[in-house]
């Protein structure tokens, strides 16, 4: 079954950033510079948090604007990035109104969610989770 990451209940989010750390940990790093998920306050912590992550669109705008077909539409929604084809133009990041394409300054290429669910494994409060598409 094809999965995607979903924000299940943003009101349960405590802003711990464990999800962000988990995503970058996949590549053997401690930090956020490879994270495809970001948690930030919704304009002051008192208003709670916003979890920004790819929603796995059925007709992904990011893929539509990619001039090199580096972003391929995944079956069931979302995209798969072929880094070899990517020229780092940044059009995808502009096209994603969710702001869910982050930038890898080292490679000068986008960071896109892989729908692996690692982040959700560390979300103790079940604010996010992997769901079937």
């Amino acid at each position: 079954m094809v999965k995607k990451l979903a924000v299940l209940d943003v009101n349960k989010c405590i802003g711990c950033m464990e999800c962000m750390f988990a995503c970058t940990r996949r590549v053997g790093r401690a930090g956020f510079d490879k994270s495809a998920i970001r948690v930030r306050s919704a304009g002051g912590i008192e208003r709670g948090f916003v979890v920004v992550v790819c929603r796995a669109c059925e007709y992904p705008p990011c893929a539509k604007v990619c001039p090199t077909d580096a972003l391929r539409v995944r079956k069931g929604g979302g995209v798969i990035l072929n880094k070899d084809k990517c020229i780092g133009c940044g059009f995808c990041a502009q096209a994603c109104i969710m702001g869910a394409i982050f930038w890898d300054d080292e490679l000068d290429k986008p960071i896109v969610c892989k729908y692996c669910g690692d982040c959700a494994d560390y979300c103790v409060h079940n604010a996010i989770g992997l769901v079937d598409v």
Binding site: C16, E18, R25, G31, F32, D33, G44, I45, V124
Partner: protein, 589 residues
């Protein structure tokens, strides 16, 4: 940008006088003392000349994080060290929020700030780019507003921390604090005043690097990481601190008779007050959100939402106010508040001006008693009629401590030790080693902790916990002292790593060694940790002694011998004996 684990050794030196920076390799310190408190005390020894005025340019501010920061869950604290303007010796204060993660991922193990600026500044630290920015327009502002403005004004990349002072810092209130992420504090011992004296309003630190796990270690690292995460999540601490938060134990402490109420007129409040000020009541009526420090799944920070009518014509305001065990004690129980709302309004007022809430509560409690006894009059208080539970008067008093309209308030702004030395009432001036007391009146251990702890903080050696364990048991004073010293020594390791004390059960010495090894820091053992913990503790004590701290001269307020603890009445001779034993042990080893 990728860093190596060892790059914790990078120390950023900022000279505010010359507006100049340097980065130095201090592998020597991090190898020997881990980070946090261990490295900070060594940097303080180097940077702080003996006998200086804590509010002069010569006083350094040191922020330090540790080898586990950003790498493991609940390694979420930053240690600040300086010479305290409140006690005149060791100033050390810990804070979470995003501070530690930001300092480490900005590429530093520690930041040393020296000198004093001619104009009011704030600093931005964005990796290797450090900028001195004019803070003139935010000078007299409260900590919340400063945070809001800098968040918008500074566009630095990555995730950030904003450490700032409120008005009290600029006015040099000796117990002014520094605030990070609006709801977390470097609360105790006056960091805010030291920042004020340096003309430093705030620091904005951006995290945009990451630490590389050594290639051959990645599997092991993930395994140890998961083990720690599981233990944190399944620990009692998780439930206790997430559900009701630290406020959850107030009611029980009061029931036990170990809670200082109305300046320790008694050690428990009446039942209806205890219920009103309980964690359960705060949660039921006001809890609006729980939040966490970075990289901590617990989420102990409890925010209350208070809706108030503030002007006729349906002008309401809703304020978000952080509450915890200690603030509710200090401005709730200590000031005889009868309503949780009033307690919240006080917490908000004290937070807004940026003072340590524990010191503020104890200072005002002393002033209330001294006023009731006729020692001070309305001429001193600038017309205020200080009465237990009278929140509007207390709110005005908080303003006056900051604005200091009379000499009396200038003295209050220097702490209760000082104020009582001017006006009398020392028998009930509840400071130990110059620092205002925490809530506990649980037995002899909590007072040995207050008197001998390097920070005079209940978190130094948790005497209150030991007292509770000893109820109904036989024990000698020597055993108690030894056990407190051992606890304080071990806590030096936790605060050098730097992990949150709430997760102390998770980070056993074996697990610490494992966690270090899994990131390539191999040469540690439980025995070595024990030795280093002791060494750090003694270094802190030696700094105190160097600055004039004298165990034999500790003032003990009579009040604590007049009110029964759960162990009965305490005796001054026992406490003096304990201090003596403490002195002998630490000078022998």
């Amino acid at each position: 940008m990728l860093m190596k684990v060892e790059e914790l050794n990078r120390v950023l030196y900022v000279d505010l006088t010359k507006k100049d920076i340097k980065v130095k390799d201090r592998t020597d310190l991090f190898d020997a003392y881990l980070g946090g408190s261990g490295v900070a005390i060594k940097l303080l020894e180097e940077e702080c000349p003996t006998g200086i005025d804590p509010l002069s340019a010569a006083n350094p501010i040191i922020f330090a994080v540790g080898p586990l920061t950003a790498l493991y869950p609940t390694a979420s604290k930053t240690v600040a060290m300086f010479k305290s303007p409140l006690t005149g010796n060791l100033g050390e204060s810990h804070c979470g929020g995003r501070s530690s993660m930001a300092i480490r991922l900005a590429g530093y193990g520690a930041i040393v700030i020296t000198g004093s600026s001619d104009i009011l500044l704030y600093l931005t630290i964005d990796g290797d780019k450090v900028k001195f920015r004019d803070a003139s327009s935010i000078g007299g502002m409260d900590a919340q507003t400063v945070g809001r403005i800098l968040r918008e004004a500074e566009t630095g990349s990555g995730v950030r921390t904003i450490i700032r002072t409120g008005r009290a810092g600029g006015k040099l209130v000796r117990y002014a604090c520094a605030v990070s992420e609006t709801y977390r504090h470097f609360g105790r011992l006056g960091l805010g005043a030291v920042m004020g004296s340096k003309n430093l309003k705030a620091l904005v630190i951006s995290a945009d690097k990451s630490v590389e796990i050594p290639k051959g270690k990645r599997k092991e690292y993930r395994k140890v990481y998961d083990e720690i995460q599981d233990v944190v999540v399944e620990s009692d601490a998780m439930k206790k601190y997430h559900d009701l938060g630290t406020a959850g134990k107030l009611y029980e402490m009061n029931k036990l008779g170990g809670m200082a109420y109305k300046n320790l007129e008694s050690a428990s409040a009446p039942e209806e007050i205890a219920r009103e000020l309980s964690g359960e009541n705060f949660a039921n009526k006001f809890l609006s959100r729980r939040i966490s420090c970075s990289h901590c799944p617990v989420g102990c920070v409890h925010l209350a939402s208070l809706r108030e009518l503030y002007a006729p014509g349906y002008y309401f305001k809703t304020t978000t106010i952080p509450y915890d065990n200690e603030p509710i004690y200090a401005v709730g129980f200590m000031l005889g508040m009868e309503h949780a709302e009033d307690c919240l309004r006080m917490i908000d007022a004290v937070d807004t001006v940026g003072m340590d809430i524990m010191s503020t509560g104890v200072v005002l409690a002393w002033a209330t008693e001294a006023y009731g006894k006729g020692l001070i009059t309305k001429a001193h208080t600038d017309g205020l009629d200080l009465q237990w539970g009278d929140v509007s008067t207390y709110l005005e008093a908080v303003e006056k401590i900051v604005e200091m309209p009379t000499e009396f308030y200038q003295n209050l702004a220097m702490g209760v030790e000082h104020a009582s030395s001017v006006y009398g009432g020392q028998d009930y001036a509840l400071a130990f080693g110059g620092n205002e007391m925490p809530e506990y009146h649980t037995g002899i251990a909590c007072y040995i902790n207050n008197l001998t702890g390097a920070r005079h903080s209940h978190l130094d050696s948790a005497g209150y916990t030991l007292d509770q364990k000893l109820i109904g048991k036989e024990f000698s004073i020597e055993e108690v002292v030894k056990s407190l010293i051992a606890e304080e020594e071990w806590r030096q390791i936790l605060s050098s790593l730097v992990v949150c004390f709430f997760a102390r059960g998770v980070y056993t010495s074996e697990r610490v060694v494992k966690a270090m090894a899994a990131i390539g820091l191999e040469n540690w053992s439980p025995e070595k940790l024990e030795v280093v913990g002791r060494e750090i503790h003694r270094a802190k004590m030696n700094f105190k002694f160097r600055e004039g701290f004298d165990l034999a001269k500790l003032r003990i307020p009579k009040r604590i011998f007049e009110v029964p603890t759960p162990h009965g009445l305490l005796k001054e001779e026992d406490l003096r004996k304990a201090i003596e034993i403490y002195g002998e042990i630490i000078s022998a080893q």
